[in-house]
């Protein structure tokens, strides 16, 4: 059995990410632990969006809503002195999965532009809900009194430990996602993306499969939100702003829709470019924009496609 370029690229990516904390410590640049942790948190959100966008063809323009719900699920208990991480993160997943159930149940009855607009509208509603929560800081948001506590050696105040927790979650989610898209369930949502009338004509009642995928993606987005609140130790309604949803979608498109691993590259490249370019000029988006346009125009499967070439078909 030959080892594919894809396997090599994935292994290399995993090793590189795992090496960030020791390298940062050796070079005395702790800032990079912080930066790459942030990258991986957004990567988790982007990978979860890719499940429904890249595989299921559901162009959800409100994925940041789950980031926000996950962040508030950490922030609000912390506000009342509840800092148990299992409880906070569990609540983050449950609350965002529940929100995804409601949003999905309504928006999945539409398709095309209507679907995009409805998911966007729901996210903006939650954004304004966040602003109206005066107790929790309104539009200023609120500072987190401390990071989630798990007891034992899992102390998130330790930057490297928090880093490896995020890396482990990302790797686990990628592994689960990789199984999911190749499973019977995965084949159904991919068939729905490829040709919906045909999928219905052979007997798939698509709504429940799409809704399930939507809820899985929402739950993972919520977990990313819980991580993000711990990352910044601060949360604001801005987590849910539509520009944030757009940013996550850009990561997916830049990295490669329907590649699962591509959005990780998308998150790395987008956030690093943002970091590097914003140090050069305040108008860094003028440089970022054309780069995105070039990738969209010339790399069909995004940066991941450029890296590993066309996916071999084993069907």
């Amino acid at each position: 059995m030959t080892i594919s370029r894809r396997t090599i690229a994935l292994a290399a990516g995993g090793v590189l990410l795992a090496l960030v904390p020791p390298v940062a410590a050796l070079t005395n640049q702790p800032f990079y632990v912080d930066l790459f942790r942030r990258v991986m948190i957004f990567a988790l959100a982007a990978v979860s969006l890719d499940l429904i966008l890249g595989y299921g063809g559901m162009v959800s323009f409100g994925h940041a809503a789950y980031l926000g719900i996950g962040a508030y699920a950490v922030g609000i208990p912390a506000f009342y002195g509840v800092d148990n991480g299992w409880l906070q993160w569990g609540l983050a997943i449950a609350a965002s999965a529940l929100a995804a159930t409601v949003i999905g149940a309504i928006s999945l009855r539409t398709s095309g532009v209507s679907f995009i607009m409805i998911t966007l509208a729901f996210a903006q509603m939650l954004y304004y809900l966040g602003i109206s929560l005066e107790t929790y800081g309104g539009d200023n948001g609120m500072r987190l009194s401390g990071r989630s506590r798990f007891g034992g050696p899992l102390d998130l105040r330790e930057p490297a430990i928090f880093y490896y927790v995020v890396l482990a979650i990302l790797v686990l989610f990628l592994a689960l996602g990789n199984r999911l898209v190749a499973s019977r369930f995965g084949m159904v949502i991919r068939a729905a993306k490829s040709n919906e009338p045909r999928a219905r004509a052979i007997g798939f009642s698509l709504f429940r499969y799409k809704l399930t995928a939507f809820v899985i993606a929402g739950g993972a987005g919520g977990l990313a939100g819980a991580l993000l609140a711990n990352q910044t130790e601060y949360l604001t309604p801005d987590f849910m702003h539509w520009t944030r949803s757009g940013e996550i979608m850009f990561m997916v498109i830049l990295g490669g829709m329907g590649t699962l691993f591509g959005p990780v590259i998308g998150a790395v490249v987008l956030l690093l470019l943002e970091d590097v370019l914003s140090a050069l000029t305040a108008h860094w988006q003028i440089i970022l924009g054309p780069i995105l346009i070039l990738v969209v125009l010339f790399a069909k499967r995004g940066l991941f496609g450029l890296l590993v070439g066309a996916e071999p078909r084993d069907g």
């Binding site: 159904v188 045909r198 052979i202 009642s205 078909r313």
Partner: protein, 250 residues
Amino acid sequence: MADALLAIRGLSKRFGGLLASDRIDLDVARGETHAIIGPNGAGKTTLISQLAGDLRPDAGSIRFADQDVTRLDAPHRARRGLARSFQVTSIFRDFSALDNVALAVQAHTGQSFRFWRAARAEPALREPARAALEAVGLGGRAHVRAANLAHGEQRQLEIAMALATEPRLLLLDEPVAGMGLEESQRMVRFLATLKRRITIVLVEHDMDAVFTLADRISVMVYGRIIATGTPPEVRGNEDVRRAYLGEDQA
């Protein structure tokens, strides 16, 4: 008809000012191959779409296997054994031919809320799919991306997908449209092998195919069925000659 697999009563569908289905009554017997012919715009595809569950009729009823299916949607009807092919080829283009048929097998064999095991490694899906591909003559093309198949092969693939759902009734909307002479003859020969085993409703413009395959023919004009009968009966029917077949074909 007592032994009708499909019984249509008073089926009507209006698009604005156009009555696309006008109180259609039609029985299709078990094992029968029933062709529906008529000029363009007669409402044949509208009828097929209502039978498949893609269009809701304004009035009337459709009974399939002694049950009223008028209110069921397309996936539910498919799972009860009502399979269709589309007038314009409709396949999963980015999947291999084998994947296409395996998906149909999966849809038919039920459980798809399975998240772990690789679907492409399941013999329960792959083997029946392979058999269906062999049956339509695509055995050697199993791993070709469906988009890269020739037009005629894509039509064969659609039939293989329909067959993989083990249908009791096959709705074929112009199965030989756009095919070359040789391809279309091969398709007709293949469809002939399905006769008796599967009940078929066939919409087709190719009169050679219709008169070769059909046990009975219904003629549609302006949303109405103006005649139903055996091929010789229909050929001899004055109304049909006037309304449809025309001097050059009759």
